[in-house]
Symmetry: D2
Subunit: 385 residues, 4 copies
């Protein structure tokens, strides 16, 4: 029997975590053949070299696509996307897949969508239908309108995609594969490694064994000039709290240099004694680190998604996760030093937080592979109203 | 007072007809400054050199963007779009407009949308919310999700854009500027020029004075290999009808070479005595030619839109205009020689056809300029549900 | 034993003829592995679909690279080259060859050279060291300066490459593979097919059996606006001579549309009775057609190279072959109707023309493969003075 | 009178120093109009934001071209060049200059050359004819073969360009504009600023007032994996010498991340007490810093060129400046810690070094403008032999 060729494009470190268990399930499914394309910042050392983790996890990378243009402005982000369309068009022409999978809503994911849709290849969109209120939202819903099949992560997302005029038969709530990883961690949650010993990083060699915070703050793409100011506010709050903290470097975006530069400047001047910085961490280790932390601070979607499942307290700062469905584990604050400090204290003192299954029950990867194997694929659709 | 800079991107000959009166109204509006970008096939001789008409009409072209990649497959179409994103990103970075206008749903229009949206420039989409059922539909609705303001051409379109989750305050039914041209023609409909004398063209020097047909048939992008077969069917039908006919060359698309090649082959072998071929015609002259014709045959949207207003009979072939709102002037047939012949005969014998205002009342251009001058522009939005 | 991977990039129909026997010899050599990349106009129907001939000849194409940008100006030519650098960089990164072969001097060949040289892959340049006096010359000698090994086609070329500061050990006169094909034809010269029956083409069905001319005229890239005027002059001369003639369409270049348009216009108006037009022909058939013709007219390098070996009379028009070494078979004229006519008459009446081995003895393909197999490859060099 | 439009493309910080006085002279010349394009790493913060210095010096930048692709491998370098060809083709199409100036031999300079030559714009190459023995040499001599006029920096360079087959009338030894800046400094050499106070930088606040070293070490592009090892060797040598040292960050190149990463790692682990690091410095301040230093160490061409004029001792490490003409001020060593240390000690103890005018007498800028104003420009040439 001929296997269906499923081409998945991973363009960034966080996208890999959101698709990993699905990649495994596709690879192992008797009716499917996995074609894996790694592109964009997932190939770059500055952004954590996701490609190394991918290959270490035993996946074969069929194509590597260098497409990130340097520059501290949104023009570079737009041009990176254009270049991505050109390069991925070549890749799909060559790999000739039966379907292409695009993940979520980062700016460059629309390159995958266009390259597939314009070449009449059925397009599967993972994690459509969510709502955040920034540039990601334009990209995410545009991906929905270019896609033929929608594998969403929550019931609310499913309803929204259907409201967008998509055929309900083509919209399936599989849950988010990132929760699959969280499930594994929740089943055996001990912190079985020393983060500094294993990952190095820079900054003080903090004493984390009696409890620690985790910070992950990305620039907000439509307000990129603010990035440096914003990260400095959070740095001050954490510095003053003086609790041992692991801080993660941001991933690529217009303005990531603002955030990075903010961090570098602050370190040079203030040399905060309680913060250790990491560039990246294997997804499993990262979740385990979160599971054992007192609180996650920042604006990462991990706080909204995985931490809901894991029952980890979260202080979510700013507008980046605006309007995303969230659980009781999250407190929202703006970029104000004292508000951040108060919220962290509140979260640390809160009672035990219960796991919520908003973004899936931990079986998303297998469910995605199953849908891909059984669904009738088309590249032609029409709006339902 | 500082004028709002409105940057309009015209990428093809037919798009120019659909925006011309709006360009004039923007140029003449005291609160607006027009920045005109001509790109893609609008710059190419093979597709009618729209740029010459634009400059002859008195518009100054601020930037010319060469971006069409050669090739007889959809890969070239996709890569053209990617290149368009890169080039238009540069152009908007340099022109620094207050808003960018993208027109309708051709594949390359999403390049305009991405280049503007990713650089945080408010994006105006003209003619969203319609429904056709081909690749154009994916592009059109994706444009809607990337755009901040929607200037639509019919009430049905307005409702559809709002259903897509757009803020109703940002959706205005202006009507289609192409109808503005039709209105001018309807007010003084005489055919005041000799088409062959004025435009040359190739093929027999037909006697058109006692009545003639017009044919305009484009390849259907998701079925491009069929292009040659389809055009040959229509050629046979028209050849057998033996009524004097003006036939227009298709515009650029994957497969236009299929259509073009079909026409060339048929001419070489059959030398049809009743058909004269044109590459292009000034929009006004074209509408006047239609207004005085017995019937328009093919799959052009002109048959659905302008001809409804003009009251010209239309035989619409195939799926290209699927689900578009249409008037009583249109008969739909598939690509079958005898069906086409019968439909043409039926249309020629039909009683007088009444003008219908489905796509506007002839004042769209001015209305678009007025909205652009008065609306508060944003580049940040969120879905309404 | 590990075979040396030799990656050859063919970007146009004429380049294929110039490398074909070398491709065969590389493919069959026990120490070499052929990686074949077909790019640019060699993939396009408008320019003769060289890729079909290549595949029909039994070669496997490893990568196809669509890179030709449409446009009637030199800007498109430059951008095509830039796109070629980007695309071929990807291709070489993926194929990871031990050496890359770039052929001659068309504008896009420098894309191959840059993509290889900048990735530290040893670069072999075929047919450097010649001299013509147009834009090709800039490209050809720049290719020489980027290349590590030079396989040239004549003794004069060898001396010139050494004068350019290249290490004499890295310059080998192999002769030109195009002459290998000519040798085969010369050994069994009968015209064993009916050109019109086999290749179709357009125009009158001329009576060629009692002798015929062949015309092949390309636009001269640095004077592209002249292309239409020039081709019309030649058309008039041939029309007036009224000898049966096979005329070949030009290959892609800025201005090829000027030449094509000149041909189309002339045909439409004058309908010359003695000319039949072809888009392309298999190289062997083309050489056989030449061998049996009364004279070749135009500005093709085939007249200078293959026809010297074949002993075919040539009227070479204009500056395109300026300063190229030539044999006694050639008369040079400028674009003047009467001069062309007189030269053709002179050539037809000339006595038998002797074969000259200026560009090789017919064993170039094997010699090229042998050098590639035995030479020590480097990507690092320094000028000799 | 119509001024000749001279378009100069600056793609990196060091290129700016090499052209600055010529830019001023062109700007002020009554017969010339300066069109200034800033591109590539000259626009990027990571590489010193040369564009800010350019604008602060009073130049108007006509076009900014973002073209640097991220990636730690030579593929990114090649693709950056391809993108540069595309972007600069647009820029020259729009600016329509009478001549384009490309500077020296960095990998991306060939993009300028191709974009100009292929659009039939006369190309001026500055600083051709030198010899170094790395990838730069391929680029430099290829630029020569694409260029129409050659403004070289030494008599040896002039002879070499003529040997390359260029018309001697089109080769002028103007000297190098970088020496013009050196002349100004030599005329008033006092160190009139505090480097750390003015430029910040990172690392120890060294006591430099009693004498200091300067280090500038770039990765060698054809050996980029060695970059980290090499820079570590130099760091160890300087660390052990324990003389106050100003160290400059490298500019962009494949492998600059190797060098940068080597520096970061060394700092993190060894925290050298005698080294202060700068990202960049205004050219004048940098030369003044050199003039007052005990010795320059590394592989920068500044050591070979400006330091010869300034009479500053230099320890030149490795192969990067191989075969470049040099003065008595230079000692060459390989990447061996003790050899570097010994050479520095030797240089510090050497007697006074005499200024040598190998690369010009300090009037190059004016001479370049004068040649551009008076020379007859062509875009058509042929090799002289």
């Amino acid at each position: 029997m001929l296997k269906k060729k499923i081409c998945v494009v991973v363009t960034a470190r966080p996208s890999y975590s959101r698709i990993k268990t699905a990649l495994t399930a596709i690879k192992n499914h008797p009716k499917l053949e996995l074609q894996l394309v790694v592109a964009g910042s997932a190939l770059l050392g500055r952004y954590g070299n996701a490609v190394d983790f991918i290959e270490n996890d035993g996946f074969t990378v069929d194509e590597k696509v260098f497409m990130v243009l340097e520059g501290e402005n949104p023009t570079a982000m737009a041009k990176t996307t254009g270049l991505g369309v050109m390069e991925l068009s070549n890749v799909f022409y060559k790999l000739n897949p039966d379907a292409v999978v695009t993940i979520a809503d980062r700016f460059e994911t629309i390159a995958t969508s266009i390259a597939a849709a314009y070449q009449n290849i059925p397009l599967i969109h993972i994690q459509g239908g969510e709502v955040t209120g920034n540039i990601d939202e334009k990209v995410r819903h545009a991906n929905t309108k270019l896609a033929d099949v929608h594998l969403v992560a929550s019931e609310e997302a499913k309803e929204r995609v259907i409201k967008l005029g998509e055929n309900p038969d083509m919209v399936v709530n599989t849950g988010c594969p990132s929760i699959d990883l969280a499930k594994e961690i929740a089943e055996s949650p001990n912190l079985d490694f020393d983060p500094i010993e294993k990952y190095g990083g820079v900054g003080e060699s903090i004493n984390w064994k009696d409890g620690y915070l985790v910070v992950m703050q990305h620039p907000v793409t439509t307000e990129y000039k603010q990035a440096k100011v914003d990260v400095t506010t959070t740095l001050k709050a954490i510095d003053e709290l003086n609790i041992p903290t692991f801080w993660f470097w941001p991933n690529v975006d217009a303005g990531s240099d603002g955030t990075s530069s903010g961090i570098r400047t602050y370190r040079e001047i203030h040399q905060p004694k309680n913060i250790h910085f990491f560039k990246n961490m294997e997804p499993n280790d990262f979740l385990r680190l979160l599971k054992n932390s007192k609180c996650l601070i920042g604006n990462s979607s991990v706080g909204i998604r995985e931490c809901a499942y894991l029952g980890v307290p979260v202080v979510n700062i700013g507008t980046r996760q605006n309007r995303r469905e969230r659980g009781k584990n999250v407190i929202d604050v703006m970029y104000e030093k004292d508000a951040i400090k108060d919220a962290v204290k509140n979260r640390i003192d809160s009672e035990i937080i219960v796991s919520e299954h908003i973004y899936g029950d931990g079986e998303a990867g297998k469910r995605i592979a199953e849908v891909l194997a059984s669904i009738q694929l088309h590249f032609h659709k029409t709006i339902t109203y």
